[in-house]
Each structure stands twice: as C-alpha cells, then as structure tokens.
C-alpha cells in the first residue's frame, strides 16, 4: 500500500513531492508547501487512496536557519485502514502554509491550534483565531525560543 501511495503521488504530482521515508511501516511524504491543497484533495478523492479523515495537524519547530517550521498532517483512510503522514516546511520570515480546511473541515481547529502554538499562518483559513491562549497574547508558546515559564507581564492577572 505504501508503494502504491508513492507511485500514485509521483505520477500525479512529479514536481510536488520532495521526498518520502518509511519507518516501521509508517510512510511520511514531504510535499512542496504551495501544493499541499492539491495533494490533499487528490489523496482524499482518489478511490484507490481515499484518505477521508484528518487525524491531526501539528507543528514542529526545528530552530534551524532555513525552513524552520514543519507542519505535519496525519491522515487516515477508513476504507483501506491506512495511515499516512504528510509534511510541509515553512520559513521563519514567512511562516505561511495554505489551509486544507476546504478539503477536510475537521482541519479547522487543528490549524488554529498550530497557529496559536507556533505562529504558523494558514492562508485561506475561514477563522484563524487563537485556540488556547487569550486573544491578546502576543507570543507563541511552543516555539523553541519561548521560555518555559513565559514572558513576565504578558498574561495579566485580575487585581487582587
């Protein structure tokens, strides 16, 4: 099944697939950031693949000079009982990734969470607000350069 996924993606998007790796049977495909929506749509609608369920979307902060952030999509095909992991990369200067909410509506809150925690913006998202932190909060706590105990006075408490 993993080889089938790679073959079909390579045939359909020869220039969009940046690479793939397999670890203990789990396939990870790295996709060019601009093409994520097209790839997602194909993976969902191709009957041989039918990845109709978005399990999770998360961010990774690699804290490196180029392409600092990763966005990881975990997909599941109910018909074929198959998992697939997609990755796209985003730079620190323009951390923007196209939103896949048009493909899977369930991606809405996952992308809001990733935006809240990492500051990765999802272009085309219908309602990109913070999910966990207060809306007036200015930082993104899961970035590696964010101190564990927070920034002093960034979260005001009520007066005693």
């Amino acid at each position: 099944m993993n080889q089938l996924i790679i073959d079909r993606l390579q045939a359909q998007f020869p220039s969009s697939i940046r690479g793939s790796e397999e670890f203990r049977g789990d396939l990870t495909v790295t996709v060019r950031t601009a093409d994520i929506v097209a790839v997602a749509k194909f993976l969902k609608e191709d009957p041989a693949l039918a990845f109709d369920m978005i399990i999770d979307i998360c961010g990774v902060d690699r804290l490196r000079d180029t392409e600092r952030f990763e966005v990881v999509y975990t997909l599941y095909s109910l018909a074929h009982k198959q998992y697939l992991r997609l990755k796209v990369l985003a730079s620190e200067e323009t951390p923007v990734v196209p939103s896949v909410t048009a493909v899977w509506p369930g991606a809405n809150w996952h992308e809001r969470e990733t935006f809240d925690m990492f500051g990765i913006k999802f272009s085309g998202h219908p309602d990109l607000r913070r999910l966990y932190m207060p809306e007036e909060f200015e930082y993104h706590p899961l970035r590696k350069d964010f101190p564990l105990m927070g920034i002093p006075d960034s979260l005001p408490l009520p007066r005693r």
Partner: protein, 190 residues
C-alpha cells in the same frame, strides 16, 4: 440585675458577634469552583460517606449570589483566572476562599507559562489545602479551620467593611509591589 431577671424568665444572653458568627460558620454555603480533578474529591466530600452536611455546607450553589465560601478545586490557568475572579466578585460579602489542592495553591506540577502559580496572586485565600488531590477528610479539615476563623471575626463593627484578618503574602509579591507595576503578579513567579 436586669440580666438576672431575663435569665429567670428563660432568656439566654450572648454577644451579638458570637451569635452572628455562630450562624455564619454553621451555614457556609460553598461555591463549587471545580476546575479539574480536585472537583471529584470535592464531590466525594459531599457524598454520604464523608457528608459535608454535618458542617452545614452541603448546599452547593451554582450561582455565586447565594454563596459564602468559594472552593477553588483545580488548576487555574491565566485564561481562567479572569473567570474565577469574576465569579468571586459576584459573591455577596462576607465571603471566604478555600484553595483546594496543590494546583490552586501553588501551580502544583504545572510549572508552566499558562498556569497561575498560586491563586493567592489574584484572590484573598483564607485556607490552603495540601494534597494532589486532597482527601475528602482534608477538605473537611479546611472547612473546620475556616469555621474557627469565622467564629473569631469581628462582625458587628465591620458589617459594611470586611477586611480579611490574614492575607498570605509572598516574597515575590512584596518585591513586585515595591516596583512600579504594583498589584500585577503576572510574571512574579518566574
């Protein structure tokens, strides 16, 4: 002379403070501010096995307007602190606060950017309860301690003006109040 006459006629006399405090301390209606797992132990305290009604506190009111003591049972995040304070402000005077469990009292195991490291940074706490979560007996003990405190409060002279007898201060907070941004303890626990 007059007192003796009264007592002969079947009256008892007492200080007004004592009477009011006796009534107050035996009908402390809790505001169950159950925010996480400590709330389960708080519910167990209300169950027949531990029976908080022995102390007159079985009337868990879910509107703050009818409450005397707020039991903050659980982890308070910065985002939640505004809500907790708002509900506390809606409670009528006189009011008291029990900080139940390690999280509410000190942040507990959540030493993190999002969790308030002790609710005494924004609430006047009367009794802290240790434990993670505290046993129901532990919460009952806190209630008894609060009753002792209520019994010794001055009531008649301060009906309009309740001043807490004891507000725990932290060294960091004292330092923070010395600096310009007094009253804001947001980053004081760093």
């Amino acid at each position: 002379m007059a007192l003796e006459t009264l007592q002969r006629d079947g009256f008892l006399t007492a200080r007004l403070d004592d009477v009011i405090n006796w009534a107050r301390k035996n009908s402390l209606w809790p505001m169950p501010m159950g925010i996480s797992c400590c709330a389960i132990e708080m519910m167990a305290t209300a169950s027949p096995r531990f029976d908080i009604s022995r102390f007159g506190s079985e009337v868990m009111r879910f509107t703050p307007r009818q409450c005397d003591v707020m039991i903050v049972a659980g982890t308070v995040t910065y985002k939640m602190s505004k809500v907790v304070r708002k509900i506390y402000d809606q409670m009528p005077d006189p009011k008291w606060v029990i900080s139940m469990g390690a999280c509410a009292s000190s942040g507990g195991m959540f030493r993190s950017y999002s969790v308030v490291q002790g609710i005494d940074q924004f609430l006047p706490v009367d009794v802290f309860v240790a434990g993670c979560p505290p046993r129901p007996e532990n919460l009952l003990h806190a209630l008894i301690e609060l009753q002792k405190k209520v019994a010794t409060e001055r009531t008649v002279g301060s009906l309009l003006h309740r001043e807490p007898l004891y507000i725990p201060e932290r060294p960091q907070e004292i330092e923070a109040s010395k600096s310009a941004n007094a009253g804001n303890g947001a980053g004081a626990a760093l």
